[in-house]
């Protein structure tokens, strides 16, 4: 419990740092942000909207510390300003619509690639020098060297465009509306398949390799030799003795790598016009929608921090030492 609370404290701190970065980046950028906003959106927005945006960002003539507290106050009321691209929808609304899709796509693919990668890592370390070990790590590392979104483009082209087996864009068919029916679920899975596949292919190698390397270290430990000497079955030694202990450092790495994988999946979403955070980010960049960009940064950061805390909770179950 103490462990979890300490970690929670750390995440709150990290969240505060990102909030603060988010506040200061526009203000430290060259030029005066208020007039920059004015110049950028002059004629695009009516003056009232511009005023609202400026006050939502605390871009007033007040002293900096007052602006800062106002900004924090607005944040806690869930006010991230108004999106330019989706005017006049508030940023929070635009983001929350898309958040579910990203969490679904990235979450499912990360879990799949972590599990498959870990299992392949266990097997290739166990049969070191075997056929799996000589093929899998090298080929997945090579695939992992491609940018996520590039693999996505290739898959989209070959399997979606040339093959015609998968839809080319969006999260579900235009003819359906979101509902908890079997038809809709199957359709959503069909749409998510290629984006998920490209994330899995691109990130699998990392999990595989770190599991394999930790596992190799663990296998040469005496207690593994001892377990084999006792005559336990190969499978039992592999899973319950070696893999179980090799998994722990990998779980820590899992939390660390989440942000990285999520960044990759954001780019994948763009290729598939998948209506998640990544696609919003792309739209925000295209239309210079600063409030939306900053809101996305905060939302994604909070999601990553929360996911890390769940990883910590899992860790408590896996490692008895943290329960003391």
């Amino acid at each position: 419990m103490k462990f979890l609370l300490r970690r929670l404290g750390f995440y709150v701190l990290a969240a505060w740092v990102s909030l603060t970065l988010n506040f200061f980046i526009p203000r430290l950028a060259p030029g005066d942000p208020a007039s920059a906003l004015q110049a950028t959106f002059q004629g695009k927005l009516d003056p009232a909207a511009l005023e609202a945006m400026k006050s939502a960002f605390g871009l007033t003539d007040e002293p900096l510390y007052r602006q800062y507290f106002k900004y924090l106050g607005n944040l806690f009321q869930g006010d991230l300003g108004i999106s330019i691209a989706h005017f006049p929808a508030p940023v929070t609304e635009v983001i929350s619509e898309a958040l579910l899709w990203t969490l679904l796509l990235a979450g499912v693919s990360v879990v799949i690639s972590f599990s498959v990668g870990t299992i392949l890592g266990i097997l290739s370390a166990w049969r070191r020098g075997g056929w799996l070990d000589s093929i899998a790590p090298a080929s997945f590392i090579f695939l992992g060297a491609f940018p996520y979104f590039w693999l996505a483009m290739l898959l989209l082209f070959v399997l979606g465009f040339l093959g015609g087996w998968f839809p080319l864009r969006h999260a579900y068919s235009d003819t359906l509306s979101p509902a908890l029916t079997l038809e809709f679920l199957l359709d959503a899975i069909h749409h998510a398949f290629l984006p998920a596949l490209s994330i899995v292919i691109a990130s699998l190698g990392g999990w595989l390799l770190s599991m394999r390397n930790t596992m190799i270290g663990v296998i040469s430990e005496d207690y593994v030799t001892m377990a084999q000497a006792k005559g336990l079955s190969s499978r039992r030694v592999m899973l319950n003795y070696a893999a179980r202990n090799a998994l722990l450092p990998n779980i820590t790495g899992f939390g660390m790598a989440l942000g990285f994988v999520l960044s990759g999946s954001l780019l994948t979403e763009i290729v598939f016009s998948y209506p998640g955070q990544g696609y919003l980010l792309f739209e925000a960049v295209k239309s210079m929608d600063y409030p939306l960009m900053q809101g996305l940064f905060l939302a994604i950061t909070v999601a990553v921090l929360a996911a890390n805390w769940f990883v910590d909770i899992a860790y408590v179950f896996l490692d008895p030492r943290t329960r003391r």
């Binding site: 740092v17 980046i25 075997g130 491609f146 590039w150 483009m153 465009f161 990759g264």
Partner: protein
């Protein structure tokens, strides 16, 4: 130096270094040997042909020239970011590990916070407020990428700082900064080199990603902007695969080569992997196939020479399949038949000593 010497003896490192050398040479002199990548030279979207080896873009630009010229800026930024990231990482990491106390607490906290904040969204926000140029991209990548190195270096510093030679340097009155950079840093050459390579891989990948998003200077020819234009021009819907494949393959080859070098560094410096590699080498030279769980040797390898059979230690957990496949190398006692093997539970730790 010993470490670099060993590295050159490693096959993976040599492959990686050759690929990198080829790309570095291309980036250095290639742009002078090809057409102007920005010129509108030919018909749009020509497939690869004898005149334009990799075809042309929608604007009629030469894809081959764009790929070659893109290498220059992309690699330059990648290596520049790598150098700076390693410098910051080493300074922060060594300072945290060496000074300890509140310095360590503060620096570690900062490092961990930057590690956990997702890089791409932060980079997008930062880049959006900066002028679109390769230099801003480099700045953004440094800010989002330094933390990992600092963390790794700190961990290593903690163990080195306890060593006698550091205490000796302290008692002899050397300055703290000198100890940090002249006593401690040289003892982690391999770590710093591998951190550098990791940072370059990150920088190239993230740079391509950011530019693909349109955050870079889109008039500059880099690998990222090549892909940005290809996507913008609906490369897939026009079936012009040649506008995306060369750049993607180049990025992947560079990344793969760098990762190979990093593996080699790990093999050369990690005592566990190294001793195992040496062991396998010796065993293989003896004509015996190394087992799946070292130092246990596979009991009956097909390639086993009878004369060497006596050298093999007793198996701890001999798998069933090799027994079936094994030639009757040693005659006493006779090898078990297939049925016997199938019936035997997998508890072979006390096996009849067929080796003796």
């Amino acid at each position: 130096m010993n470490f670099f010497h060993q590295l050159l003896g490693n096959r993976k490192a040599v492959i990686g270094l050759w690929v990198m050398a080829a790309f570095a040479l291309t980036a250095l002199i290639g742009p002078w040997l090809v057409r102007d990548p920005a010129d509108f030279l030919a018909d749009p979207l020509l497939p690869p042909n004898s005149e334009y080896w990799l075809g042309t873009t929608r604007q009629g630009q030469d894809v081959f020239a764009q790929t070659i010229c893109g290498a220059r800026m992309s690699l330059l930024i990648g290596f520049f970011v790598g150098v700076v990231v390693v410098f910051i990482g080493a300074t922060v990491g060594i300072a945290a590990g060496f000074f300890g106390g509140w310095v360590d607490d503060a620096l570690s906290l900062l490092t961990n916070v930057f590690l956990i904040i997702p890089g791409l969204p932060l980079a997008v926000v930062l880049a959006a407020y900066l002028e679109a140029s390769p230099l801003s991209i480099a700045f953004v990548l440094i800010l989002t990428g330094w933390a990992w190195n600092a963390r790794v270096v700190r961990a290593q510093t903690l163990s080195i700082a306890k060593k006698d030679f550091v205490s000796a340097a302290l008692t002899s009155g050397e300055s703290k900064w000198r100890i940090m950079f002249w006593e401690i840093l040289p003892n982690m050459t391999s770590l710093v080199v591998s951190g550098f390579i990791g940072a370059v891989v990150y920088a190239i990948g993230a740079q391509v990603g950011l530019e693909f998003l349109g955050m870079g200077d889109v008039s500059e020819v880099t690998w990222g902007t090549n892909l940005f234009w290809a996507a913008n021009n609906q490369a897939l819907l026009t079936e012009s695969w040649w506008t995306i494949v060369p750049t993607g393959v180049s990025v992947a080859l560079v990344g793969f080569a760098l990762v190979m070098i990093n593996f080699a560094i790990d093999e050369v410096t990690n005592p566990k992997l190294k001793s195992e590699a040496d062991f396998r080498k010796v065993v293989l030279a003896e004509g015996v196939e190394p087992g799946f769980s070292t130092p246990v040797l596979k009991a009956l390898g097909e390639r086993t020479q009878p004369t060497r059979a006596s050298l093999r230690p007793a198996p701890l957990d001999a798998p069933i399949t090799p027994v079936l496949a094994a030639p009757p190398a040693v005659s006493n006692p006779p090898p078990p038949t297939a049925e016997q093997v199938a019936d035997t539970p997998r508890q072979p730790s006390i096996k009849p000593k067929e080796e003796a």
